[in-house]
């Protein structure tokens, strides 16, 4: 089957099994699992993953072709995104054969949901500064600590957990990675209410949680190199999706603003021109990255530029939409439905600048890995972790 045939078959399958504009409510887990099973059976789950562990063993070309077709549909795969985009590829790359055998196929078939447990309140941009401890106890490890910003933890069966196992080593050299059962005793998941008033993320608490050594991923104290693999996959999956699709009912999009704004005012028209220029320039950049990827040239750190631009565009468009709308942007209708779509948009707008690496982190990545600029001096690479300043002091 050549690529065109593959694409046509994918399109046909999607037409039969996925509806355009279908929403993906987070609570319809059983529906999502059914869909994943069907996707797996059709051969569209884990397209590039090794066949030995349940994937299709195909190339990026097929993956991109399927993604291009899927873009016209809204697949209910949200709860599987962490597993498919980050933890699964990490296990394929770095897990033991026993771990791959046990975890990968159920993940691809949608039988088990995964989350990723890296960030902590004191370790955001600086993930390696984390403090959650794992202490060896025979053939198991006892974990205590707190994670934060964990997507889909409330639905997850398994989590990929980064812990500190050696506080006497410098911070990158005393970390170990585990797979932890999210239903195990001592694991508490608590929704984290964010500034929009909703809970898009969770906090996860570990209170003497036992993890078998067989669930360790990579060597003891070598967890950072495993985490780097995961973060690389995270960045790829973010940049691949960046700017490609957007909610049709986004009230801050150019299309929406052209309907709602007073375009008889030349200044309003010029504001919309500015939005149009930024939107088009970023969309074209993303299309170019996608075309390069299809040709085998992967974006790597350049994807951080797309992510940074999307973060800035998201802030700009929500800000612009509220400025154009005026007073009504910041209130609801008094019917109990909340403060209105623009108010929600301006509340949600900072998320893209904070999640998946702040704008400052993106600029560092672009500067160092794309432009090859020298790093700043690092005071935290050699000091034993226990002697290092971390988190919030005073």
């Amino acid at each position: 089957m050549n690529l065109d045939e593959y694409r046509r078959a994918a399109r046909a399958w999607l037409r039969d099994y996925a509806r355009p504009g279908e929403s993906a409510p987070e609570n319809a887990i059983s529906h999502a699992k059914d869909f994943m099973a069907r996707l797996y059976d059709a051969g569209y789950s884990g397209i590039t993953w090794p066949a030995r562990w349940g994937g299709q063993g195909l190339t990026q070309a097929e993956e991109r072709a399927f993604a291009a077709e899927a873009r016209h549909f809204s697949l209910p795969t949200y709860v599987f995104s962490i597993g498919l985009g980050m933890t699964g590829p990490t296990l394929v790359d770095r897990g033991t054969d026993e771990q791959r055998e046990r975890f990968v196929r159920p993940l691809l078939r949608g039988e088990e949901i995964w989350c990723q447990l890296f960030s902590e309140p004191g370790a955001g941009s600086d993930v390696a500064a984390l403090q959650t401890r794992a202490v060896r106890d025979g053939d198991r490890w006892i974990v205590n600590g707190q994670k934060v910003w964990t997507s889909v933890a409330q639905h997850a069966d398994w989590g990929l957990l980064l812990t500190r196992t050696n506080p006497d080593a410098p911070k990158h050299r005393g970390l170990t990675m585990f797979v932890v059962g999210m239903r195990d005793p001592g694991v508490t998941v608590r929704p984290l209410k964010d500034m929009t008033g909703r809970a898009h993320f969770n906090e996860v608490f570990f209170d003497d949680v036992a993890v078998p050594d067989a669930h360790r991923v990579g060597e003891v104290d070598d967890g950072w190199s495993v985490a780097v693999t995961t973060l690389l996959h995270e960045r790829l999956s973010i940049s691949a999706g960046v700017g490609m699709g957007r909610a049709k009912d986004d009230p801050t999009s150019l299309e929406a603003l052209r309907r709602t704004a007073d375009t008889s005012d030349p200044l309003v028209r010029d504001d919309l021109v500015e939005l149009h220029i930024r939107t088009r320039a970023l969309a074209l950049f993303n299309q170019r990255l996608a075309q390069e990827a299809e040709a085998g040239l992967f974006p790597g750190a350049r994807g951080s530029a797309a992510k940074l631009l999307l973060a800035e565009l998201t802030l700009f468009e929500a800000d612009l939409a509220t400025r154009l709308a005026g007073p009504s942007a910041v209130v609801g209708t008094g019917d109990g439905e909340g403060a209105g779509p623009l108010a929600h948009a301006i509340s949600l707008a900072p998320a893209m600048s904070l999640g998946g690496g702040t704008n400052e982190i993106m600029r560092n990545i672009i500067g160092e890995r794309v432009l090859g600029l020298p790093p700043g001096p690092r005071v935290d690479k050699t000091v034993p972790f226990k002697d290092l300043k971390v988190g919030t002091q005073g």
């Binding site: 600086d126 005071v379 935290d380 971390v390």
Partner: protein, 365 residues
């Protein structure tokens, strides 16, 4: 032109600041309006009477002093009808009314002002020996908490049968007062982006109104300018408190083994935010001076104050939120309260381009 505070104004600032630090810090603002704090603010500090003339029991101070107070209430994100009442009191400087001014000065009456200063959609008609008002105001600041609504109604020529207040023989606006607890008034509290200050839809269906006096076109414009300056003073406070919060955090938060404030990526942004603060303070002092001392410069100063300070305040509030990192995105942290107040303030008097358009028109003149 005086752009610095007098010793008395600095004392006022200290008094309000220390009162609010104890009674209503930003963290408390998310709980909303606390009438007890409002009463103490007006009682112990006499703040609601600050600009009420002495003959009505107030302190007879000017915009320079009101600006000092509003900067502090803004910095504390004070909930409740303090700003709305100040707007109303500013309108009353153009159509003084003993009952209302005395009530405001004593802290008995919380008032608000329909915005924009001459709102659309209200009609007045003589009925049963009095005046009644009909129409809907879609957004009234502190409309659910205020006792009295002031509205500048577009006047119509005397003798016109439509029933507009006959006094308005030049067709210019007339200031009227409506008892928000009275008959013919329905108030629908609105969900607001800014959790720290409420708005309500106010539906008037034959609500009795009392004519306070004629504003005329010029008077209405002056009230709009005063309101713009007062809001800019609050915005200056929000801006300053936003910057203070992130500067303090940058000195205690560590990433990669260093305080984040030691990174130029953070430091240089904070420096730019400081530049905005310095300019905003200068612009607000100038506008307050013009309000008190130079009516001819007021229109320009008021438009400049909104055009500059509204934007600067939102940008600084936004950047402090972003520089807080993930914790700034949480509900529990105060960063979003400043961000949301700054946005709500920026659009309170209309789309921000109206202030720029006003400046453009004044530059032509």
């Amino acid at each position: 032109m005086r752009l610095t505070l007098t010793p008395e104004q600095r004392e006022l600032r200290e008094a309000v600041r220390s009162f609010l630090a104890a009674a209503s810090p930003p963290a408390k603002a998310r709980d909303g309006y606390d009438p007890a704090v409002h009463a103490r603010l007006n009682g112990e500090l006499g703040l609601s009477g600050l600009i009420v003339p002495e003959e009505y029991g107030g302190a007879g101070a000017g915009m320079a002093e009101l600006a000092v107070a509003l900067e502090e209430t803004g910095a504390a994100l004070l909930p409740g009808p303090f700003l709305a009442t100040a707007f109303a009191a500013l309108a009353l400087t153009r159509a003084p009314d003993k009952e209302l001014l005395t009530g405001v000065a004593e802290g008995r009456i919380a008032a608000t002002l329909a915005l924009p200063v001459v709102p659309d959609g209200l009609t007045a008609r003589a009925e049963g020996g009095g005046l009644v008002v009909r129409g809907t105001l879609p957004q009234v600041l502190s409309g659910a908490e205020a006792d009295v609504l002031l509205a500048a109604l577009p006047g119509t020529p005397a003798g016109d049968g439509s029933g507009a207040p006959g006094e308005a023989s030049d067709g210019g606006p007339v200031l009227v007062a409506v008892d928000l607890g009275g008959p013919g008034v329905t108030r629908v509290p609105l969900e607001t982006l800014d959790l720290t200050r409420s708005q309500a839809r106010v539906e008037l269906d034959g609500a009795p109104a009392r004519v306070l006096g004629r504003l005329g076109a010029e008077g209405a414009a002056a009230v709009a300018d005063l309101v713009a300056v007062a809001l800019a003073a609050e915005q200056l406070g929000v801006l300053r408190a936003s910057l203070d919060a992130i500067v303090a955090y940058a000195k205690i938060r560590v990433a990669f083994g260093r305080f984040i404030g030691s990174y130029q990526g953070v430091k240089h942004k904070l420096a730019d935010m400081h530049c905005k603060l310095e300019q905003a303070e200068s612009v607000v002092r100038y506008a307050a001076w013009a309000a008190d001392e130079d009516p001819a410069e007021l229109p320009h100063a008021a438009a400049l104050a909104q055009a500059h300070t509204g934007r600067a305040c939102f940008e600084v509030a936004r950047d402090q939120l972003l520089l807080h990192g993930g914790v700034g995105f949480t509900w529990e942290h105060d960063a979003h309260l400043f961000y949301k107040r700054a946005k709500a303030d920026e659009v309170l008097l209309g789309p921000p381009r109206v202030h720029r358009a006003r400046l453009a028109a004044l530059m032509e003149a």
